[in-house]
């Protein structure tokens, strides 16, 4: 006789460790995408200039936002990828149930999110150093060139929360498509259709997260959403048979 | 030792016969423990149930006896029992077939006996 919960957790954890090693090469995708984003953002993310007749003043603004944005896209695809047959298949030789499979996927996505957020935030530091070396330093505005350590940690925490949220979304979409391949076509159609018709509504939903300026409240919102998204994904899968 | 799996003779009988030969050859003495079903299974790559059946066959014929918890042991007089059995069953069966075949080939009794004598003589010469 053994405790089933402990069992589920222990096997999920073993699977999580297994997947961490198994999917470790997904990291190269992240690195590649971050480097590409870095190259894009070395040109500056926004450009402002004004002039009067004799003078033009321009300010190029730099940030690692693009790198973070690209990493968000990456984690979204990883979320979908983990639900695909090719990736689910590796669970089969292991001790598994659909719940333990989901839990280990969630664990992997969390680690991937943390890693993605840390690296993408730190690529911002790399970007500053590259620009420091390549630019005339008298052109660099000191303000915000040095990211405070507090800002770095804050950025990492928020980035992680966002990435977990996005990965949960990807995972849900992937799980839905697994029910029927028809959803592969239906979901984007629905999303784009709704985006057009209910733009306001979508913007409001988006603002729930993006305009929340209180960190604890934001974390709470993300947490609840993530639990719902992963919960629905987990509820979708138990009746799914293994097809090979 | 390789068993003949294609043979129509069941494997457990082949096992029993092989053990009988071992006993006849003196590889097992009286009251000596014979192979267990698991040893046999391992040796012949057969299911232990099959090996057990072979041993049980010998036990039924009182060639081996069981000691609870210790395994199968060669019965006293096992050699004699085997010889008797083989003479009775195998030799008789063979002779039956021999006689039928001889009849088919028009070999009469005297001729058949002569042939048997010859074969025996050749065997003895080879042994020398």
């Amino acid at each position: 006789m053994f405790l089933k919960e402990a069992d589920l957790l222990s096997f999920s954890f073993k699977q999580f460790v297994y997947k961490l090693k198994a999917h470790s090469n997904l990291l190269y995708g992240l690195m590649l995408i971050q480097i590409i984003a870095l190259f894009f953002s070395i040109g500056g993310v926004s450009h402002m200039s004004s002039s009067n007749g004799e003078l033009s003043v321009s300010v190029n603004t730099y940030s690692a936002s693009l790198v973070i944005g690209f990493s968000f896209i990456w984690i979204f695809f990883i979320g979908i990828l983990l639900t695909t047959k090719q990736y689910k298949k590796i669970e089969l030789p292991l001790v598994t149930s659909s719940l333990s499979g989901n839990l280990s996927d969630i664990g992997f996505l969390m680690i991937a999110s943390i890693f993605g957020s840390i690296t993408s935030t730190l690529v911002g530091v790399l970007q500053r150093i590259i620009l420091y070396i390549s630019f005339d330093q008298t052109q660099i505005i000191f303000d915000k060139f040095l990211i405070s350590f507090y800002d770095l940690v804050l950025g990492i925490v928020i980035g992680t929360l966002y990435m977990i949220l996005i990965s949960a979304l990807g995972y849900l979409i992937g799980s839905i498509t697994k029910l029927s391949m028809a959803f592969v076509l239906i979901i984007p159609a629905i999303i784009f259709g709704f985006l057009r018709v209910y733009t306001d509504f979508f913007q409001k939903v988006l603002l729930v997260y993006t305009k929340e300026a209180a960190l604890p409240l934001f974390a709470l919102k993300v947490l609840i959403t993530v639990i719902i998204l992963f919960g629905v994904s987990s509820l979708l899968s138990p009746n799914k048979e293994v097809s090979q | 030792m390789i068993l003949n799996t294609d043979s129509t003779k069941p494997i457990y009988i082949q096992i029993a016969e092989w053990l009988e030969v071992e006993i006849l050859n003196g590889n097992f003495k009286e009251d000596e423990r014979v192979y267990s079903q698991y040893q046999l299974a391992d040796m012949f790559t057969i299911n232990p149930a099959t090996a057990a059946k072979g041993l049980n066959l010998l036990a039924e014929e009182h060639i081996v006896y069981k000691r609870r918890g210790l395994g199968m042991f060669v019965s006293p007089n096992a050699k004699q029992a085997i010889l008797t059995k083989r003479r009775k069953q195998i030799l008789e069966q063979m002779i039956k077939e021999l006689v039928i075949e001889a009849k088919r080939l028009d070999v009469d009794e005297a001729e058949l006996i002569e042939m048997i004598k010859n074969v025996r003589k050749e065997g003895e010469e080879e042994q020398l």
């Binding site: 096997f11 297994y18 198994a22 | 129509t8």
Partner: protein
């Protein structure tokens, strides 16, 4: 104690019934062979037992629980088949150590020893293996996991005959050392017959028979000889197989118990009484149409 209990299990794919109203039980620590021709439903049955598939109707219990999506069941079951996939980020030797923590009885030395014995390069990924090596490697996992229920689905496909023999030997040796319930599916019975205790013969999703191998030998008997004489004996009896191998000469196979009382009489009437090899018996039992391939040629 029954490890597996199936009650009226049916599994259909659309209209096709891969498993049709199957009932059987498998006792603990038996080495059972699941025999059937290609498409008999062997793999479907094994997937049902391993919890990969759900039965369309009927009850399956493995270790007294429904196997589908059951973690506890999965922890006690190892299903070796040729679609097992392992990540490319693992070499074979990695796989052995990564899979080990999942199985309580895992024998790591045995796994490494077997990998070494079968001289498969342990530094390559699973997906690069040839079909035979893949089968060998998967089978090593099956043996080393020492799961209370270990299922091998056509484990030897692609192996050469030397490796096959070694595999069966290894399987049996480990089974003797560590008894457990093993199901071995194969379409080649004479290869596995020796190591099996029971045989479950499947024919187009239906159970043909489920017997100890030892009884299978005595299960049927063949009669050969003059057609008219044979007809006299087998009149009204269910024949397993029948073949007219020369004009006026018949070869029939029927269950031993049907003819046992008259066997002496049969012999006296000059008919040959033949025992049937398990291999032939399985072929006869699972033949698509009575009369065999000859029948097709005679008709055309």
């Amino acid at each position: 104690m029954s490890v597996i209990q199936c009650q009226n299990v049916t599994r259909s794919y659309g209209k096709l019934k891969a498993i049709d109203n199957l009932s059987f039980a498998i006792e603990e620590n038996k080495l059972t062979g699941l025999i059937g021709r290609n498409g008999a439903g062997k793999t479907t049955l094994l997937k049902l037992l391993a919890g990969y598939l759900k039965p369309t109707s009927g009850e399956i219990e493995v270790f007294s629980q429904k196997p589908f999506n059951n973690l506890e069941g999965s922890s006690k079951t190892m299903f070796v088949n040729d679609t097992m996939t392992f990540p490319d980020s693992f070499t074979l030797i990695d796989i052995l150590s990564e899979v080990a923590p999942f199985y309580a009885n895992w024998n790591s030395n045995l796994a490494k020893g077997l990998l070494d014995y079968f001289s498969i390069n342990p530094k390559q990924p699973h997906s690069k293996l040839s079909k035979g090596s893949k089968s060998t490697f998967n089978s090593i996992l099956g043996i080393a996991s020492r799961c209370p229920l270990t299922i091998f689905d056509e484990p030897t496909s692609g192996m050469d005959s030397a490796v096959r023999k070694d595999f069966y030997k290894a399987l049996l040796k480990d089974y003797l050392e560590y008894p457990r319930s093993i199901i071995l599916s194969s379409h080649l019975i004479n290869e596995v017959e020796g190591i099996l205790e029971d045989i479950l013969l499947l024919n187009q999703g239906v159970k043909s028979l489920h017997l100890p191998v030892l009884e299978l030998k005595k299960f049927a008997i063949g009669l050969r000889g003059n057609a008219q004489v044979i007809q006299r004996f087998v009149e009204g009896k269910e024949l397993i197989y029948q073949e007219e191998f020369a004009k006026g000469y018949l070869y029939v196979v029927l269950r031993s118990e049907l003819i046992q009382p008259e066997l002496k009489l049969v012999r006296q009437s000059g008919l040959d009484v033949l025992s049937i090899s398990t291999d032939d018996l399985c072929i006869y039992l699972t033949a698509k149409s009575r009369g065999g391939i000859d029948y097709v040629f005679k008709r055309s």
